[in-house]
Subunit: 454 residues, 2 copies
Amino acid sequence: MENPLLLPELREMLSGEDDGTLSEFLVEAHPASIAELSEGLSVEETWQLLSRAPLQRQAEIFAFYSPQKQVTLASGAGSEQLSRLLEAMSHDDRADLLQRMEPAVVERILPLVAKADREDIRRLLSYPEQSAGALMTTDYASLPADVTVGEALALLRQQAPASETIYYVYVLDDQRRLIGFVSLRDLILAPISATVRDIMHPDVISVRVDEDQEQVAAKLAKYDFLAIPVVDDQHRLVGIITHDDVLDVVTDEATEDALHMGAVAAMVESHLEAPFFTVWRKRSLWLAALFIAELFTFTALASFEDAIKAVVALSLFVPLCISTGGNSGSQAATLTTRALALGQVTPQQWFRVLRHEFFMGIALGVTLGCIGFVRAALTPASVLDGTDRIMLALVISLAVASICLWGTLVGSMLPLLFRRFGVDPGYSSSPFVATFVDVTGIVIYFSIAKAILF
Amino acid sequence: MENPLLLPELREMLSGEDDGTLSEFLVEAHPASIAELSEGLSVEETWQLLSRAPLQRQAEIFAFYSPQKQVTLASGAGSEQLSRLLEAMSHDDRADLLQRMEPAVVERILPLVAKADREDIRRLLSYPEQSAGALMTTDYASLPADVTVGEALALLRQQAPASETIYYVYVLDDQRRLIGFVSLRDLILAPISATVRDIMHPDVISVRVDEDQEQVAAKLAKYDFLAIPVVDDQHRLVGIITHDDVLDVVTDEATEDALHMGAVAAMVESHLEAPFFTVWRKRSLWLAALFIAELFTFTALASFEDAIKAVVALSLFVPLCISTGGNSGSQAATLTTRALALGQVTPQQWFRVLRHEFFMGIALGVTLGCIGFVRAALTPASVLDGTDRIMLALVISLAVASICLWGTLVGSMLPLLFRRFGVDPGYSSSPFVATFVDVTGIVIYFSIAKAILF
């Protein structure tokens, strides 16, 4: 978001002689505030602004621009300028940036980056997306076990400028295996002559480098950690994941889930800003798929042509009956998806869910069936075609109750089935369940009608 | 979640003589792990377990039980025991607990709690739910400006045991007004003789005590803070909100949004664990409301009785036409709700959204209309009742395109309207939009049919 009030002032300061105000602002203000304020500047102006700040500070501000803006800025920078910036950036932020850039550009830039940094970048880029490895940063603080608290504090002072956090410090043996953990609070409170081994917590909770980011987020949230260490299969420390990155993961996953529920493919950008054709393609793909599936409602209805011709009233109740399935199905799917996400249920417990939803579906179906009975009993004579009003009401209430039960069962089972086959359970929500239940609902409705009325 | 493997061992240790293993486990393990492991114990057993740990540790473990379990445990404790525990608990956790307990029980307990703690509890309980005040804790670390770094570190050592975090320290004047901020990293790196005023950051980003928790979460996430200070209208520091509580807020809000989208009232507990009747009531309330709204589809269809009787084919396309509106509406509603949540758009910018979605709705409508034309052109003669196949196909494609546009417009505007009137925009998703568009879709469809065919 831009701050329209201050942008002109910023432009003026940029074009004029530097009287110190700008340099002071660039060093004193929070990097996120500087990034927000300068969001509206052109690529050239932004680099002009950044170049007035020390390199370390440039890297901090840069990391707070939006992912898209970072790519644009990086593409508009000189190779030399960009490689210095990459060396100064925090290790996870620069890996994220390079991940998003054209591979050809990355291959041109990397040789200019210092060897240690280059190797670190290549390692981080090698982890699969959404894994702990892709989320972690390698600039953590660590200590050997056999130093005193006083020595440890001195070591931390040295590591502080290059570390993402020094509040959580990991204790490593000479093979870099994770053997303990101390917080800076522990160190501050301990006697200066104690050794790190004396005060460290030996049972460190960690995640494996190939663990999924959702599990990482759940673990960090469970223990209220500032950061969680990432280890390889030999229990060597390879990185840490900090609380702020986990917060971003949780926000992103929530957005993704919401988009799936609303039948939209995930879009990184705002749908109002992205190119019209891209948005149209993503949206029409989903809608067309649902539309084509929904074509079967015609086929299903056409197969009951005789019943529809005989009693017009039956066709008037079609939207009511089938929407009941869609609504009860969406509801059950949402609840099961949430229970899965919160770890309250696993796909293996499908029978427990099925049993619960069976009785719930009946209870809900009876509720809606009663309302349906009353409404159908008031059907005007002109559309009854000689059918008994009470018999029609019986058909409608039975159909509504059955379809409600059916929707509930389908809605509660689909997310478990999706999870079992590695598909995001979020896809099973609203429009998908509704479309599936629409077609089957028609068959249930007219089968009941034929059995009772004809 | 229980850990079924170790629970029997824990029970055995509890009933036997304490050989030190249990006491060691209670002090060494992470409080969250102890809480998880002992989740399956009865109230009596849990208190037996807790009483083997020092009071401070008891309070830490207690805070990691689920909210429901905390209430059950507190209700099963003696008043004396509970009041000592409350004094030891962190200030936000105990306020959350008392908020959930019966007011009568709280009033019986509070007089037994030490005066300072009692006043702190009453103050925290007085803030409205979901405000910064209700989320914050009052056990923060603070410093005066005119002490040296060495003195500051000594002061922090004193405050450490009672503070939620000592990594972020707030600098206050003698009126307790917030005048600066230093991190423990700053203090560790600064020369021992510098004053806090020299190294503090004077422009502190804070939130007001009455700000909504969603805004608080957005601010903390934006700046990657560990904690954010909360001030009153005189800019006096009244509390801090830490990263772990914000992570919980974000998770809770995402869950709540998903439930609204799926037409379920928020449930604190798992729907599989909660009492059957409670779950039935919450679920049937939504379904019945949607069902009653959907009754109008009958009324709408009945008003086109003559057209339906004249051409049976028309009624066979009803589910296809109206589901198009529901799907395109859900999609547009989801995108607008997301754009609102991410701050990409405000209700004031409704015209920009309307214009974008107008053209998008036309593009999507034409796409679906073409598919609909092909399908309708293949309608079997038996249901055509003498209508021209191509004219029917024209009706269907026009209806599908118009309803798609209508659904897109309704879906994109409803969330803005809801936000404008203080309702959660999440409610405007899937089932709600679908129900609204179903009824209006029938009117659009048959109006087009009547204009072209009759």
